[in-house]
Amino acid sequence: MTEIRVAAAPDAPPLAATRTAPPFSVTRMPGFGLVAVASFAVLYLPIITLVIFSFNASTSMSSWGGLSLDWYRAAWRNEVVQEATVRSLILATSAAVISTTVATLAALGTTRQGRFPGRTAIYAMVNQPLMVPEIVTAVSLLIVFGFVRSLTGYQGLGYLILAHSAFCVPFAYLPIRARLEGMDRTLELAAADLYASPVQAFRRITLPLLAPGIMAGAMLAFVVSLDDVVITEFVKSAGQDTLATYMLGQFRRTLTPEVNAISTALLGFTLVLLTGFFLITRKRARDPR
């Protein structure tokens, strides 16, 4: 009997320890609930207010004058808003396509070559737009493009497309690189082993497996471009307002709930886009990767 008790003794402390000291959980900290509610309130109350006031019949931004779709109608009929919307969509689509293509190539280059000297430096260089203050980039672009403008006389949308494509690259690059790094390299060896040329292996194996990453990257780039104000404001030529810079311009003059309506529409559009993307990727995740 003594022997049994001795043998059981070493097991006792850990058992007791798990019973008295549960693993650390932040949800049990005092005031956790309050902080959580406050955080969500700060995040969402302004947006909710904005959405509600976009349906306000009155011109005022502070008093409620009844439910109406007048401001949506006004925004829809406003030719300047129409033009700015089309410009924004062209710009965001071009920037998404160009930056995603560049980002895919950069991701393949940095993950498929093994370790090479200066790889970390290249990571940093690709992600430059995340680190350099946007206003600095905006001013430098203004100077460079101003120089090009005076030389060539070109006033088109090209400057904006170029600028947006550049700062969208890291947003497209990060999800694509993550996807590539998580991919089993043996799959590409297996494709080569089964007589696929490098191009065939890329098209039939790597690209389909990379597709969700590329889509995530393109989606992020699109939204980031759609949203940009600072760089656009500096780079755009006269009469090249995007939806975002148009709204900024409106705030400088008279505040009308039309801006609320545009914001709400933009919010709805982004939500639909992201939800659609989420559903697609989740379906793919349940299907094989």
Partner: protein, 365 residues
């Protein structure tokens, strides 16, 4: 159609080997810090042979396989496939296919699409591809699962898809990189006989890599034992087991007693004086004796190498009897277990050991 595991490919041998390596060296790293994963390895595998590369992890067996597949380029030496030098060909230009340790099935393709992949890349007509895929899936008994994705299959089923995919293009040589290591014991045994059956039915040359000596002994026509980048011995399983060329091979394959001895005047004597074998050399040598080749004398029987019983371990079918010779060398004998409770002679008792002359291997130190 039981295949004789000890047939060393004699019936299949043709003049030209299916695959051969000549003085293949593979160095990793550079300058003085380089590691030789392969050190002048030469081997030839006959057509239709089941050849196994056996060795502990890091011995270079997988590197040799990858050199044959084309995933690695040898630092020196040549590799020939069916008489043609393929050393500088990329993997997709070599008529060899690989079954990967991780299976490496394409997750976005169905089972049938996985099996069809190689044939499609070869540019086979669609009708032929679908006919071959059906035949291959029937061969590995997966016809019911053709439309499934790999993730919906069990490990054993994935393994068979990998086999069907690699066999479908009818390669000159099939390379198998520890394909059974991820399976549990029962499934592994099943797949071992499945592999033998597939090899027999397709007639394709198999080069199989494993660190499992039992797997190698039961499946192979010939085994190549590797250690630290070198090929130590090549031969049929029986020869590898009974006539190991050195201490490493004797130790790696099966259980062995190593007993220090002295060679003089053509005879090999243990420290206690008994003559146990013959050797042309002179000086200290090591004698290797398999535990199952040692017989303990019956009570009252005289002669044999005197030893003291130290204990016994019950193994089920057999028991290990732990013994000590007069010079202090430990020896283990493997004897059939008796139905009675006692596994063997009582500890402390003296016994005589008898070993058939052919069962004693004299190894260089």
């Amino acid at each position: 159609m039981q295949h004789d595991p000890n047939n060393h490919g004699g019936q299949h041998v043709s003049a030209r080997p299916a695959v051969s390596a000549e003085r293949v060296t593979k160095r990793f790293g550079q300058g003085t810090a380089d590691v030789r994963a392969l050190d002048e390895v030469s081997v030839s595998v006959a057509r239709g042979e089941f050849f196994t590369l056996l060795g502990p992890s890091g011995c270079g067996k997988t590197t040799l396989l990858r050199c044959i597949a084309g995933f690695e380029t040898p630092s020196a030496g040549r590799i020939h496939l069916n008489g043609k030098d393929i050393t500088d060909e990329p993997p997709n230009r070599r008529r060899v296919n690989t079954v990967f340790q991780s299976y490496a099935l394409f997750p976005h393709l169905t089972v049938a699409q996985n099996v069809a992949f190689g044939l499609e890349m070869m540019g086979k007509p669609r009708a032929e591809v679908s006919r071959t895929v059906d035949r291959m899936l029937a061969l590995v008994r997966l016809d019911q699962l053709a439309a499934r994705r790999p993730e919906a299959l069990s490990g054993g089923q994935q393994q068979r898809v990998a086999l069907a995919r690699a066999l479908a293009p009818q390669p000159e040589v099939l390379l198998l990189d520890e394909p059974l290591s991820a399976l549990d014991l029962k499934l592994r045994k099943e797949m071992q006989s499945e592999l033998k059956r597939l090899q027999h039915e397709t007639g394709i040359t198999f080069v199989f890599v494993t660190h499992d000596q039992e797997e190698a002994l039961t499946m192979s026509d010939r085994i190549g034992v590797m250690s630290t980048g070198r090929l130590l011995q090549v031969g049929p399983p029986r020869e590898i087991y009974n006539r190991p060329v050195n201490r490493f091979v004797a130790d790696f394959i099966g259980e062995t007693n190593f007993i220090p001895a002295m060679a003089q005047g053509g005879q090999v004597r243990l420290a206690s004086g008994e003559v146990v074998g013959e050797s042309a050399q002179a000086g200290p040598v090591t004698v290797a004796i398999r535990p199952e080749q040692i017989r303990l004398s019956e009570p009252g029987e005289v002669g044999g190498i005197p030893a003291t019983v130290e204990g016994a371990t019950y193994l089920g079918t057999d028991s290990h009897i732990h013994l000590r010779l007069k010079d202090g060398s430990p020896v283990v004998a493997r004897v059939p277990s008796l139905p009675s409770a006692e596994p063997g002679p009582a500890p402390g008792s003296s016994v005589g050991l008898r070993v058939a002359p052919g069962a004693v291997q004299v190894l260089e130190d």
